[in-house]
């Protein structure tokens, strides 16, 4: 069970860390995706992870991480309305269908969402899409759909988070040590 926990959390964490570089600022209740329809996949999945850091929980993080050593975590999570991850791993291919993928993707077709990254690998069958919800110059939410032959993951971040600083979470919250370097200051 320990392995399941750790492996799964790594998946979720890696997905979050992959998209560093942008500071996301939002006030975005509407950026929250409906993902409960995917739960039925748990019946077929060899491993299922469902992470829900909802708004109420996020509001308490300032109280939970009140130690002076936690100031970076506090700043990182400040203002974030929610972090939601659903990840399903299967023993064989074809256990989930495009219907499940489309049930999430269809929510991202509105004008508010923009697809900023789309990676397709014919060889491996991997398909990764990254969407941002914008309002003016501000980003209100992030969505990631990762559809691999034996794995299906959806990540949804609602509210502001400085993804550039997410590397500071390495080694905490189940985030593995990925060897991500901190951004180097520009030379004058």
């Amino acid at each position: 069970m320990k392995t399941l926990f750790q492996t799964s959390l790594k998946i979720a964490s890696v997905m979050l860390l992959l998209f560093g570089g942008a500071a996301i600022t939002a006030h975005a209740q509407s950026a929250k995706l409906q993902m409960d329809q995917l739960d039925v996949l748990a019946n077929k999945a060899s491993e299922t992870v469902d992470v829900k850091l909802d708004e109420r929980l996020m509001q308490t993080t300032a109280r939970i991480f009140s130690d002076k050593d936690d100031v970076e975590i506090r700043n990182l999570l400040k203002g974030v309305k929610g972090i939601y991850v659903k990840s399903f791993s299967f023993e064989k291919e074809g256990e989930y269908t495009q219907t499940e993928v489309e049930s999430v993707r269809s929510q991202l077709r509105g004008s508010a969402w923009s697809k900023i990254v789309s990676v397709n690998s014919r060889k491996d069958g991997d398909n990764v899409e990254v969407y941002l919800m914008m309002q003016g110059d501000q980003i209100e939410g992030l969505a990631v759909i990762s559809a691999e032959p034996k794995e299906f993951t959806v990540v949804n971040i609602v509210g502001p988070v400085n993804l550039e600083k997410l590397s500071k979470l390495e080694g905490q919250f189940g985030v593995p040590d990925l060897g991500l370097d901190q951004p180097k200051p520009k030379k004058k």
Binding site: K2, N43, D70, F173
Partner: protein
């Protein structure tokens, strides 16, 4: 002779009633979760673990929790604990339905933190948090193929921060801590 019999009866009654004290019905979410497990899997809970098992779990906890000597996680006297031992937990392909029933059983004051499921291995862990003023209530449900545990504990914010930094260990650590507490409070 009658007096001796009465005393013996009283002792037996006390021993028999002890398990109930650990999971006495308070008409709250803890009991509702236990009942949901019993109804879905057709199992019955026990409240006193075997002492040998307690010792084993205690040793694991000491090894698991880093940062020095064993540290008590839950607030003293705050733990509620129920065991299901040596019974079959077979979701029969409907593990998602059980997950949904867990969610609907708990009232909206509980925030789900993480759920991990393995339909093949019949392994499930659910962790829920609830604000309790200056502290937090944590509810941990762990189900495996032949056993399950339900733990509710009150933890201080600094302990919760420590646990949340290593959520992979959170459920196990709290469950083990609860088991130790149960053992220590018994003669």
């Amino acid at each position: 002779m009658k007096r001796k019999l009465a005393i013996a009866g009283l002792i037996i009654a006390t021993i028999v009633c002890l398990p109930v004290a650990g999971s006495r019905a308070r008409g709250d979410d803890f009991d509702a979760v236990v009942k949901a497990i019993e109804q879905f899997y057709h199992v019955k809970h026990q409240s006193i673990p075997l002492l040998a098992r307690v010792g084993m779990k205690g040793a694991k906890t000491v090894a698991r929790i880093r940062g020095g000597d064993y540290k008590r996680l839950a607030e003293a006297g705050s733990i509620r604990l129920v065991f299901f031992e040596d019974q079959e937990f077979n979701s029969r392909g409907q593990i998602a339905r059980f997950k949904a029933s867990m969610q609907s059983t708990l009232n909206e004051n509980w925030s789900p933190l993480i759920a991990t499921l393995s339909a093949k291995d019949e392994e499930q862990t659910y962790i829920y948090l609830r604000d309790a003023g200056a502290k937090f209530h944590v509810l941990v449900v762990t189900i495996e193929r032949r056993e399950a545990t339900v733990v509710e504990a009150t933890v201080a914010p600094d302990i919760l921060a420590m646990l949340m930094k290593d959520p992979g260990e959170m459920g196990k650590a709290l469950t083990d801590d609860a088991t130790i507490n149960e053992a220590e409070t018994r003669p």
